[in-house]
Symmetry: C2
Subunit: 673 residues, 2 copies
C-alpha cells in the first residue's frame, strides 16, 4: 500500500502554521504572536529498487518537478514528467523525484505494482544526507491532499431552540467545533450569528467573541454561499450557543452544525458509585477530545494555538485516555518547527525545556526509538540554543525577547530564576536518557547536569526557610511554590527535603497559593506523589465539581467559585476572554489514571508496568487504561470486598497494601479487600 | 502616495523561489537543485504617528490578521479587522498590523489621508528588533498583488511563416520570452508546439527542449483554453521559432506571441563606423534585456535560474547599459535568501564570495548606503559561514556538499585551491570597505585579510614558474590561468608580478586556454587592465562577431567556431542543451564601456568619475553611458580629428594621452586628436 510522503517533519510545520493562523476574534484573524517556522519548498525523494523485471508506475503530487531514473549498473539516466506513466527498467535502479512547491507542501504518492511511496523512501532538502521521509497512516489514498487535514463530520441539530430578546437562541448542549450551515427556506435574508460558549456570551450581541454578519453572502470572507441550494456555510468555529438577534427563524431558515472532529478511540474509562466523579471524567474526556485534532491545542474558541506548555500536559492526559501516538508526534514536530532554532518555543524559555523533556516521556510511553532517533537533531539543536544562554554556574538566563514564564505568579525575577534552572536540569536529564537510548556519548551532558544540580542546591536551597528560593541575587530570598513543586516532582529532593518542603511550602498558607489550573496540575501531582491521595480526590471534586455546579459541559481554562454572573466568563481583560473548553481542564483523567488508580509504565512502552490503585477512596470502581497502541489495557474493578485487575498483556504488577502481585496476561487477578 | 510593504528581503526570496522553480524541460518542470530559502509567513508592520486630528484609513492585504492601535498617552488599545474602515484617534498613536499568510507573502497597502504604507514603516518577524520594511517603486497601486511580478506585454506576429516538413514554422526574428496564443479559426484541433531557439531545434520534433502537445485543452497543465474565444494560451517560454508539425495552419489557426519583458530604459548606447561592432553592441543589449526581468537570470530557455556567478557579471553589464538599481537589489536579495545561511549560494563556495563582493560594488556604483546598511547582517552571516570553514592559515576548504567551482577547468584540487583563496581575500576586502562605510570596527577583518594575503603569496606564488599555482599540497605545482587572472584583477600583484604573469601565464600557450565565456570575461578584463585594448577589441570582434556570422540574433552561452551543424546547439550532453540567449554573452557592453571607452566611477555613485577612451581604435564613435539613476550620462563622440565629451553632471575627468581634463557639467569638452 502506498502512502503520501513529504520531508520529515514538514507536514507538521505546515499544519501548525495553519493552526496557529486560525484564531478569530471579533471579525479579525489573529495569527500567533511568535516566529513561525517555514517548511521546505524544494525536495528530492528517492529510493533504490532491485527489479527483476520492468515496472510501470504513476504519481499523484502537490507541486511540480520531474522523475529521474538512474540504472546503477550503467549510470544511464532518464527523466520523466511527474504526470507521465513511467516505465522503470529492470535491474538496480535509483528513482529520484524532484518536487518544488512555492505555496504549499511538496509531497507525492507513488503507485505501482512494486514501486510505491512509503516510509522506506528517503528525502533531501539539498542540505546534508538524505533522511527518512515523513508519512502518516491518515494519508494513504491518492485522492487525498496532505495540505488538508481530514476531520470526521457529523451534522448536529440544536438540542434546544428558544426565542429570547426578540431573536432565536440555539443550544447544542455543549461546546463543539463546527461550521454552521444556514439553510434558507425561501430566500436569502441578512442575518447575524452571535456565537457563545455560554448563553450569556451568545446573547451579548455587542461583545460576544465571535460574530458573523452575513450581508453579501457571495463575497463573504468567512463562508461560502450556495445560491442554488440557498445555503450559507460559515468557517469553522467553536461554540455551544448560537443567537440570531431580531429574528424568529421559523419559516425563514434552519440551522445545522457540521461538527468536525478526529475520532480518537475510547480507550480509558472510569466509573464508580460517585456520580459527580463519573461526570467529571466524562466532561474531562469530552473537553480533551474537543481540544485534540491535528494537534493538541489549548482551547477551542481561543487561542486555538499549539502551545508547548499546554501540549506537555496533554501528552500526560492522552496517555490515560485515547493513547494516540500520532497526535503526540504531530504536536511535538509542529511545535518545534525547522531544525535551526530562531526563538524559544512560543517565545517562552520554559516551553523549550518542556519540549525537550517531552521526547524522553514520549519514549517512556511509546517505546518508539525510531521517532526519537529522527527527532534527536532537533532536540540537540534546541538544547544547544538553551545552553548558549547559560552563565558560568550553568544557570539559564533570558535573552532579549525571551519570556521566562513558569507561571502567572509574583516571582522574584532578579538574575537566574530557580524554577527555570530546575526545568533545565530536567531537560539535561532527558537529553542524557535519550543519548543513552541512541547509544550516544553522554559525558558532556552528565557533567553539565551534575554541575547544575549542585549549583541549584548551593545557590537556591535555603536551609532556614527549608525551601528553594526564587532568586539568590536580589537578597530577598522570596519563596514561591513553583520551584519547590518541580524539585519534588523531578525527584531532586532528599526525603528530608521533601518533608520540609511539604511542611514549609505546600502546606504553608503564608506562601502564595497556586492560582492557575496549569500549575495546579503539578501541585496535585506533588500531593499525590507525597501520598495525599484523599486530598487530591477532594480537590478534584471541589474544583471540577464546582465547574459542573456552574453548568459546565466542558472544563474551563480557569475557575474561581467566587466569580458570579458574567464575570465568570471574563479573562485577560476581555469580557468573554475565558476559554470554556480548555485542554488542561481535562487533567482529572491523568490524576485519576496515574495516581488514584496508579497505572504507570516502569519500562518504556509499558513493557513492564505497575498498578497501585487507592481502592479505599472509591466504591464499585470500573475503569480501564490503555497500555499501548495495539489495544492492550488494564482493567480495574472493585466491589465492597474485592479488587479485580485484568491486564491483556504481560509485564504488569499489582501493588496492594505493599504487596507486589504479578498480573499474568488475560487473567483476572482478584484480591480480597 | 502609498506603497505595498512586506518584510524586508522577502519579496525577493518569494520571487526567486518562483523563478528558480520555473525551468521546464521536455514536459517536466525542473526546480533548481539547491536549498531554497523560505520567507516569513507571519509578520507585524508598525509605525508611530502624531495626529492632530482623527484619521480614517483602509487596507488592502495578502494574508489575514488584524490592526491594533495603541494611543501612547493612555496605552489604550483597539483592535480592528483588516477589512474595516479604521478610525484612528488623534494624538501619538502606534499602528500595528499583524499579517499571517500560509501560502504566500504577507503584505499590505495602507491608504489614508495621512496614514499610508511606505518605506518609513517597520516590520518584525518576532525575532529581534523591528527593521525597515521592504517595498518597491513597481508596487504602488492597491490593485496590484506583490506576489505577481508585472511584465509589460507586447503582442508579436512571426516575421516569417514557412511550410516545412509537412508542418508550419514561425520565425519571430530573435529569441523572446512569451506566452503563445493559438487562435483557432473554427474549432479546436489537437496540435503540437515545438519550440526552438534555432530552426534546427524547432524542426526536431523528437528532441526539441520545449514541446507542448495540446490535446485536452481544458485540462492542460501548461496553458489555459478559452472555449468561447477558441483561444489557447500557453505558459511563458523562450523561443525564436515555433514549429507545428503535420499541419498547414492556414485557415486552421493563428499564432501570436504575447512577449513579456521589463521595459528597462535605454541609457547606454554605442555606435561607430564598424558595423559589426555596432551589431555586437545591439545584439548584446537585446540579449541582456531578455535575461533581465525580476532578476538577472542566466539564460531565457535554460536554466531560467538566478545564479550568483552569472548575476555578478550582469551587475557589471547593467552599469553600462540600463543602470537599473532595483534589479540589482532584487537579485542580491533573491540570491541570498533568509538571514541564516544553510548552504553556499547555489551550493558553490565561490558564488557566496561573489555575493559578498557584490555589496561593495553595489555601493561603488549606486552610493546607496541604506541598502548596504540593511543588507549588512546577511553579508556578515555569509562571511562568518565562509570563515567557519577556514583552516589555521586562513584558507577556505570545501565542506561535504560544497562545490569549489571557479570554472570548468582541470584544477589541481588537492587541499586549498589558490583561486578560491584569492576570492576570499577579495571578499574580506569588500567586508572591510563595507564596515568602514557603516562606521564599524574593521580590525578583526583586516587582520584576517592581511594574514590570508601573506599566506597566499607564501604558499601559492611560485617564483620559478612566475605564477600562482593551484595547490601547494599535492606537490604538482600545476598552473592554470584562473588564480593569476584574479590576482591581477583584484590588484594583488606587484608591477613585477603582473608582468611575469602576463608573460608566463596569459601569453603562454602551454597554460591551458580559458574555455568558458564566463572566465573569458575576467581574462579580457585583465588584458584591458594591462593595456592590451586592441587585443580585447579583436577578441570581441572574433568571438562575438563569429556568433553573428553563425546567424546569432542573441548571444550564446558558449561559442566554438569549429562546431558545425546541429553540434552547435548541444551542451551538457543534451542535443539542445546550449542556451542561445545567455546573459554573460552580453559582456561586450561592459568591456566597451568600462575599458574601450574607459568610463569608471572613482568614488561611490560616480560623484567623481573618469573617462579614458581608446579613441585610436575606433572611427566616428557616438556613445553614451549612464552615471546615475537620475539620468545623468557621459557622451563620447569622435571624428577623424576630434574627441568630444559631454557629461551632464560634475565630477568627471577626461584622460587623454596622459592628460587629465576636467569635464564641467553640461559643457562639451573637445580635444583635437
Amino acid at each position: 500500500m502506498s502512502k503520501w510522503i513529504w520531508y520529515q517533519g514538514d507536514f507538521e510545520i505546515y499544519h501548525s502554521m495553519k493552526q496557529n493562523f486560525d484564531r478569530e476574534e471579533r471579525g479579525g484573524m489573529w495569527p500567533a504572536y511568535w516566529y513561525t517556522s517555514g517548511w521546505n519548498h524544494n525536495v528530492v525523494f528517492s529510493k533504490v529498487y532491485e527489479l527483476t523485471e520492468p515496472q510501470n508506475f504513476n504519481l499523484v503530487f502537490q507541486g511540480h518537478g520531474y522523475v529521474k531514473i538512474t540504472e546503477l549498473a550503467t549510470a544511464k539516466e532518464s527523466k520523466f514528467p511527474l504526470d507521465a506513466t513511467i516505465n522503470c527498467p529492470a535491474g538496480q535502479v535509483k528513482i529520484e523525484i524532484s518536487v518544488g512547491n512555492l505555496s504549499g507542501l511538496p509531497c507525492i504518492y507513488v503507485m505501482g505494482k512494486k514501486i510505491n511511496s512509503d516510509s522506506d523512501w528517503l528525502v533531501t532538502n539539498f542540505i546534508g544526507d538524505a533522511i527518512s521521509v515523513g508519512c502518516s497512516s491518515m494519508f494513504v489514498n491518492k485522492e487525498q491532499n496532505p495540505m488538508v487535514f481530514e476531520y470526521q463530520h457529523e451534522l448536529r441539530q440544536a438540542n434546544k431552540v428558544e426565542h429570547v430578546n426578540g431573536g432565536t437562541l440555539f443550544d447544542f448542549g455543549h461546546d463543539i467545533t463546527a461550521q454552521v450551515i444556514v439553510q434558507y427556506e425561501r430566500k436569502f435574508t441578512p442575518i447575524t450569528l452571535c456565537y457563545g460558549e455560554s448563553k450569556t456570551e451568545a446573547l451579548d450581541v455587542e461583545a460576544c467573541y465571535l460574530k458573523h454578519n452575513i450581508n453579501t453572502p457571495a463575497n463573504d470572507k468567512f463562508g461560502q454561499y450556495d445560491t442554488k441550494k440557498l445555503a450559507f456555510k460559515t468557517r469553522l468555529r467553536a461554540f455551544r450557543y448560537l443567537f440570531l438577534p431580531n429574528l424568529d427563524t421559523n419559516g425563514v431558515l434552519q440551522i445545522t452544525a457540521d461538527y468536525q472532529f478526529v475520532p480518537f478511540p475510547q480507550k480509558g474509562y472510569f466509573t464508580s458509585v460517585d456520580q459527580q466523579l463519573n461526570q467529571i471524567w466524562q466532561v474531562a474526556d469530552r473537553t480533551f477530545r474537543l481540544c485534540s485534532g491535528n494537534f493538541f491545542i489549548d482551547g477551542i474558541k481561543r487561542d486555538r494555538w499549539v502551545w508547548s506548555g499546554d501540549a506537555f500536559q496533554s501528552y500526560f492526559i492522552n496517555q490515560y485516555d485515547f493513547f494516540d501516538k500520532e497526535i503526540v508526534k504531530r504536536t511535538i514536530l509542529g511545535l518545534r518547527g525547522e531544525l535551526e532554532v530562531k526563538q524559544h518555543l512560543n517565545t517562552i524559555v520554559d516551553y523549550s525545556m518542556y519540549w525537550i523533556i517531552s521526547i524522553e516521556l514520549y519514549y517512556q510511553t511509546f517505546a518508539d526509538k525510531e521517532f526519537v532517533r529522527q527527532t534527536y537533531p532537533k532536540m540537540k539543536a534546541l538544547l544547544d540554543y538553551c545552553l548558549a544562554q547559560t552563565n558560568n554556574l550553568g544557570f539559564i538566563l533570558g535573552r532579549s525577547g525571551d519570556w521566562i514564564y513558569i507561571d502567572w505568579a509574583d516571582f522574584d525575577h532578579a538574575g537566574a530564576l530557580c524554577a527555570e534552572q530546575i526545568l533545565l536540569a530536567r531537560a539535561l536529564q532527558s537529553m542524557i536518557r535519550v543519548e543513552k537510548i541512541l547509544g550516544k556519548a553522554t559525558t558532556e551532558t552528565e557533567t553539565r547536569y551534575q554541575k547544575l544540580r549542585a549549583n541549584i542546591d548551593r545557590y537556591f536551597w535555603d536551609a532556614d526557610k527549608q525551601a528553594y528560593i526564587d532568586s539568590y541575587e536580589s537578597g530577598k530570598r522570596n519563596v514561591t511554590r513553583h520551584a519547590n513543586i518541580f524539585a519534588i516532582l523531578f525527584g531532586y529532593t532528599t526525603e528530608e527535603q521533601t518533608k520540609e518542603i511539604v511542611t514549609h511550602v505546600i502546606q504553608n498558607s503564608q506562601v502564595p497559593q497556586i492560582n492557575t489550573p496549569y500549575f495546579k496540575f503539578w501541585e496535585l501531582e506533588v500531593l499525590a506523589q507525597t501520598g495525599q491521595f484523599k486530598n487530591v480526590l477532594q480537590q478534584i471534586k471541589n474544583y471540577w465539581g464546582g465547574m459542573l455546579e456552574n453548568g459546565a459541559t466542558t472544563f474551563w481554562e480557569y475557575f474561581d467559585p467566587t466569580e458570579q454572573g458574567a464575570a465568570k466568563y471574563a479573562m485577560y481583560g476581555d469580557k468573554y476572554g475565558k476559554s470554556l473548553c480548555h485542554a488542561w481542564g481535562a487533567s482529572p483523567i491523568y490524576l485519576i489514571g496515574r495516581y488514584l488508580m496508579g497505572v504507570e509504565p516502569t519500562s518504556p512502552g509499558y513493557q513492564t508496568f505497575k498498578v497501585t490503585p487507592q481502592v479505599e477512596l472509591f466504591q464499585n470502581v470500573d475503569c480501564a487504561f490503555p497500555l499501548n497502541e495495539a489495544g492492550d489495557s488494564v482493567q480495574i474493578k472493585t466491589t465492597a470486598t474485592t479488587l479485580a485487575v485484568l491486564a491483556t498483556k504481560a509485564g504488569g504488577t499489582l501493588i496492594y497494601q505493599g504487596k507486589q502481585i504479578e498480573l499474568p496476561p488475560n487473567q483476572q487477578v482478584t484480591v480480597t479487600l
